[in-house]
């Protein structure tokens, strides 16, 4: 079973990379862009076969290591 953990900066936390990318998109003519936020996508392969258990484990992994919950929030998705 595969867990996909998406880690993104919380709203209100300055994202200088996102700002720089937004500026570059403007330079490329994408004038409709109003905001860009950069995050991480971490895929975790496990031997767990129960989706609910895999989900709970991945959330614990995110809280303990994958995300810094002071500045980041995360979302877990289980893929068979």
């Amino acid at each position: 079973m595969k867990a996909v953990v998406s880690v993104t900066l919380k709203p209100g936390v300055l994202d200088p990379q996102g700002k720089a990318i937004a500026q570059a998109l403007h330079n490329l003519g994408f004038s409709s862009v109003t905001d860009v936020r950069v995050g991480k996508r971490i895929t975790v392969q496990t031997t767990e076969t129960d989706p609910a258990a895999a989900h709970a484990q991945a959330e614990e992994m995110a809280r303990k290591l994958l995300a810094n919950t002071v500045i980041e929030s995360f979302q877990v998705e289980i893929v068979p």
Binding site: V13, L14, P16, Q17, L65, L66, N68, V70, I71
Partner: protein
């Protein structure tokens, strides 16, 4: 003072730190590999700068979960002194020994330059060899030194007087331009509530000998050596 320096894979400022500590204490610090868990007899544990684990995931995230960290937590809980510089500060924060987070520099650039720091309180083992409000020069070299914490945490830090150093101009003013990495409220270094754990981004250990270009960083190490003398 018996000091130990923790070495993680990718740490590269441990020798600079050893020079500063040996000069102040009169004896060489112990080098502690990250798999060791015995910190018995140490007055001061220092986590130096560098790029532990290649800054994978987040700066300091891997090191903060390594075997030696439980021993450092126990040492801090006993009231032992802990100093984290640069990557060491990032590791202390990731380990939960100090609050907040260190984000990418606001400019997105790695900053290798001198800065000026103002000493915010002098009744600590780290700062009592300075005058209150003293301004000193320090080298800094980091890509992720932009201190961040939510407002309640910042208000608590300020209210309890746990901000040790702020980025200022040479004249001692905490202006936006003096804070090149974008740290909130110009915060360069913070203390634990018992004031025995200090983390800061700049490198005072790199200015402790006239041959290095100055001795502005010496009071930190002389203060520690005096406070922690057996």
């Amino acid at each position: 003072m018996k000091a130990g320096i923790v070495v993680f894979p990718g740490i590269n400022r441990e020798r600079d730190m050893a020079i500063a500590l040996a000069q102040a204490a009169g004896s060489a610090p112990r080098m502690i590999w990250h798999r060791e868990t015995d910190l018995e007899g140490l007055d001061l544990v220092v986590i130096p700068g560098g790029f532990s684990y290649g800054d994978y995931l987040r700066c300091g995230a891997m090191a903060a979960r390594s075997p030696v960290m439980d021993a450092i937590r126990a040492h801090a809980a006993r009231g032992g002194a802990v100093l984290g510089v640069c990557n060491g500060f990032q590791i202390l924060i990731e380990a939960g020994l100090l609050p907040g987070a260190l984000l990418r520099n606001a400019s997105l650039r790695f900053l290798s330059c001198d800065c000026w720091l103002r000493v915010e309180r002098t009744d600590t083992i780290f700062t009592d060899h300075w005058q209150r409000g003293a301004v000193f020069r320090s080298p800094m070299a980091h890509g992720d030194g932009n201190y961040f914490a939510d407002d309640p945490t910042l208000d608590r830090l300020e209210g309890e007087g746990l901000v040790a150093f702020r980025y200022v101009t040479e004249q001692g003013e905490a202006t936006t331009t003096a804070c090149r990495n974008g740290s909130v409220r110009n915060i360069a270094g913070i203390l634990s509530p018992n004031r025995r754990v200090l983390g800061l981004m700049p490198h005072p250990e790199d200015l402790v000998d006239p041959l290095m270009g100055g001795t502005d960083g010496q009071p930190l190490f002389h203060g520690l050596a005096a406070a922690l003398a057996a």
